[in-house]
Amino acid sequence: MTKTLEGAEGLRSVPALLHRNATQFADAPAYREKEFGIWQSWTWSQALEEIEALALGMIDLGVAEGDFVAVIGRNRPRLYWAMMSAQMCGAIPVPLYNDAAAEEMAYTLGHCGAKYVVAGDQEQVDKVMEIQDQLPQFEEMIYLDPRGLRKYDHEKLRSYEQIQYNGRAKREMLVAEMNARIAKLDYDSTAVMLYTSGTTGNPKGVVLSNRNVIETSRTSSEFDGLRQTDDILAYLPMAWVGDFIFSVGQALWTGYCTNCPESPETMMTDLREIGPTYYFAPPRVFENQLTNVMIRMEDASPLKKRMFDHFMAHARKVGPDLLDGKPVGLMDRLKYKLGDLLVYGPLKNTLGFTRVRVGYTAGEAIGPEIFDFYRSLGINLKQLYGQTEATVYITAQPDGQVRSDTVGVVCPGVELKINDTGEVYYRSPGVFVEYYKNPESTADTKDAEGWVATGDAGFIEPDTGHLRIIDRAKDVGKMADGSLFAPKYVENKLKFYPNILEAVVFGNGRDECTAFINIDLTAVSNWAERNNIAYASYQELAGHPQVLATIQNHVEEVNRSVAEDEMLSGCQVHRFVVLHKELDADDGELTRTRKVRRKKIEEKFHDIITALYDGSEQISTVTEVTYEDGRKGAIKATLEIRHAMVQPVATRMAAE
């Protein structure tokens, strides 16, 4: 049986890949998790034993083929195993966002009709229990961390250990059944269902087949030359397609090791301890890390600071060229070596990037300065462009062709086309099967020939073949005078400043652009501390005149930079307010992946937007907020409307 599985032909399902790894890489580490201060690890053969035990226990519990098994929790090996166990039972795993509120969960659990839930801890168990009356199909819950759950009514509650124990005890009886179910899995059976974060409307359940997952994992692993000895750190939400592909798809295909942090707060320490060779992070994480580095350098001794500034300037000059293998002079090379010894090496070590061979960022545009900072240190950071419906990969940057303003060339096996309105379409083996129980949306997104609309506007550079994304197709608009309005372009420029966490630019169909700005509490509070500025709350700090003046400087600098771009010079920000609260996914202002929900923000803060355009000097407002436990409260604030200097608009406009 193993003979056939070893050939590529036999590898037609996730469990089949797992079997191959347990034979071929039996003693190689497959999973690590830091627990009780120590990294615990499991080899591929141990992992298989654990996963089979759980799968057998699940069959014993009554999990049937075609059932949906929801998995909710932070990244832990046992939860990844739960997904694979579900697949072994012929069931479909549905990972959900662990920070979602109970009502959000009620929708997704109800929509797929999940009969079984694997919950990470008491918090997740509580949420599911709260909504279980709304879920007629719900049958049993399996929990991982027993803490605080001992007194709970165990009528519909089982511990993970108990299920595995049952599985091991009844192995003889059930193993034939399990193997029969695994054998039935083929390339077209469903591997997983993932809910999109839902920038608009309810989340949609994207059904991905084994073909989608395995083909994509195969081509992308080959594209980047991933190795069996690689290490990744799994810390992004399990419900996100990227995590599924990195920590399950590619991990199984290449057989590398998935490392899980001890807790979300220890992520940075764990990153340093593991030193991943293959690393993925959204731009926000890189931004935060850069902000932290800059803050710490501000506090460093003058000698250190001067050394840092000097060598970083050199790194910016030659670092990216060195990484791309372009010719660099001998003196520059020697100086870079010295810098590596004194600054870059220690800095990379502190960040946990010493061993990174392939690093990716995606999800949002990354500020060119941030991108170049990491590349100049010699970290092979690249961009990729993808979405859940494509099983991640649409385009990616090959080694040696990395630029901050494009998202790369089409991935192997992917076809791309741009329609007349500028929207990007693609077709690939990774194209999703369907939206679950939503044929209308499926038909809207995927046409009969298999082309899928991305919803993004962009163009392919004629000479290099690289794809450039301008903005979300529906967000790109026209100003009242007909010039192009691309809010994301301006927002990204604003967000590069460490003091600015989030920006939302308005102006579609209007004469002038205005903006909401969120300060970055880490950076601004550090600045306040160093300058002896006292504040009692986020709100007070955000309204401090000196903070407003600093932000105004940033906005004016961005205006100068925007004015240089002929097409987009109309997008300069004329007026702005610094918001009194941080935009938050709990209040529905951001998606769970922290993308701005423009519609929601426009509705919620309509009074402030009105004030931005009616010439008011300040605006008093009351904002509803949701606390982490779901309770609601309100914040009252009076915000000052600041006018920013704009550059005279380029000649093209005057000619019209």
Binding site: E35, F36, G37, I38, R147, G148, K151, E262, T266, T269
Partner: protein
């Protein structure tokens, strides 16, 4: 129901055992000042017992009598059925009693982990010889103790600050570290002196959660002093109310809440 000697089961299914500590007619004087006047009450196994009262009511003195730090002039303390003689603090610790302090008393320059490890001191057997040899017995013991310390760190969710020097931590976290150190001793009776003093609402909620979890997971008997009435009423199984060194109420939170003397003490009535 409370007088059942063998204990009882609470409404939420927790098992409350027999009396483990009994105070009989305790009177404590500092010179001419009577800090505690003829107070008697008991603490049952597995319960959360609160001592409340306005400022200067004698709560901290009472806790110090329980912990054996003060020896009362009159009355007797019975621990696990035996009358307790005056003892040194380390003897008290060996009896399985651990405490936290109103004004945090941690080793500021040491890391969180090291502080928690000091709580294991009473469980270390190896002498100076083996400790200086390090290999062998002492190493095994250190490993075993570290395991316990790590379980506590995990339990109180302070993994992220494991290696951080205590001096750099905010107040609320220091309180949690102190609780961790007390728990590391694996006490059978845990004394908490104003565990939520100076905390904001969120920190109080966290701390309450941890206190309940400790009681639930480890079955630790907890006696606590607290100012915040709301917290006390939610947490405790039974409450002793003190005022001017006297006991003015004793019972379940509901009984205490409706006690006229307690209402007077808290709302302020002219004492004649």
């Amino acid at each position: 129901m409370l007088d059942q000697a063998e204990g009882y089961t609470t409404a939420d299914g927790r098992r409350i055992g027999p009396v483990v500590m009994e105070m009989k007619n305790i009177t404590l004087r500092f010179g001419g000042v009577e800090a505690i006047k003829d107070i008697s009450f008991d603490i049952r196994e597995g319960e959360i017992r609160a001592i409340i009262g306005p400022n200067g009511a004698g709560k901290s003195s009472m806790l110090n009598v329980i912990s054996g730090f003060y020896v009362p002039q009159e009355g007797q303390v019975f621990y696990q059925g035996q009358p307790r003689p005056p003892m040194k603090p380390f003897q008290v610790a060996r009896q399985g009693i651990a405490r936290t302090f109103q004004n945090i008393a941690l080793f500021e320059g040491m890391s969180v982990l090291d502080n928690v490890m000091t709580g294991r001191l009473t469980h270390m057997q190896t002498g100076l010889f083996w400790q200086s040899m390090w290999k062998g017995k002492a190493e095994q013991e250190e490993t075993a103790n570290r395991e316990v310390a790590e379980k506590i760190i995990d339990f109180l969710e302070i993994q992220a600050i494991r290696k951080t020097p205590v001096a750099r931590l905010p107040y609320g976290l220091k309180k949690r570290v102190e609780l961790a150190r007390a728990l590391a001793a694996e006490p059978s009776l845990l004394l908490l002196d104003e565990p939520m003093a100076g905390m904001n609402v969120e920190e109080k909620e966290d701390m309450s959660r941890f206190i309940l979890d400790v009681n639930d997971e480890f079955g630790t008997t907890i006696a606590l002093i607290e100012h915040d009435m709301g917290v006390v009423m939610d947490l405790s199984d039974r409450v002793v109310v003190m005022d001017y060194g006297k006991k003015i109420g004793d019972g379940t939170p509901d009984e205490v809440r409706n006690n006229q003397d307690v209402i007077d003490a808290y709302l302020g009535v002219a004492h004649d």
